[in-house]
Symmetry: C2
Amino acid sequence: MQGMLGDDDDRVFKALADPTRRHLLDRLFERDGRTLTDLEGDLEMTRFGVMKHLRVLEDAGLVVTRRSGREKLHFLNPVPIRLIHDRWIDKYTERQVSALADLKTRLEGSA
Amino acid sequence: MQGMLGDDDDRVFKALADPTRRHLLDRLFERDGRTLTDLEGDLEMTRFGVMKHLRVLEDAGLVVTRRSGREKLHFLNPVPIRLIHDRWIDKYTERQVSALADLKTRLEGSA
DNA sequence: TTGACATGTGACTAATTAGTCACCTATCAT
DNA sequence: ATGATAGGTGACTAATTAGTCACATGTCAA
């Protein structure tokens, strides 16, 4: 039981704690397979900073990569996100919580 | 669109980044309505430390509280967790991702 | 081959955050 | 009332983390 709550998931949560890294995930959610240079584009940060953040995301398993020649392509892996969900939302209450979350999103969207 | 990605969600992710706070959420997931003294029990930390962590969780909306006499009862609010989920997992891929997550949990459970 | 481009590494500094301390306030039971 | 119990505050120190730098490696296209 403690096994699945160890170092792995700590890396995931630490990775998600930074707004730049969440923004990178947003970009990859929008469209997968981007390169470092592509992702560097809209960030007010040096390339090295972005690379460091991508490394953290990759170590956490939130991003998986594939080399293609001199480019490195980045893909979003949503499984760790789902595991966070399952840790504190059981199958029985999932429907109600999901409905509440949808409601909240809709209310904020129209505001 | 930026509205729902603002300071609020930053507080949520920062709150989740600490293992002690995740443990507190685990305890509340197991059983709701605990007091500070109750939660303090199995932690190697002073009461003040625990109180500080609970405060962070409450500010993030992950924990809601209710006063009952001289006691303060703590409840887990799963909605922010679900919003994290919905940010990077769309409704169309949710089933597949969920299945993968279940598989991963089962494999680790039997290991 | 050679110049240009994409990515990678180790060390340094500045800023953030965790945990503790002494001390304070409010409520309950007798 | 009063002693015990539950919870709360502001300031301090130690540890962690973000961002940058100069420099290095590997790949493509002509």
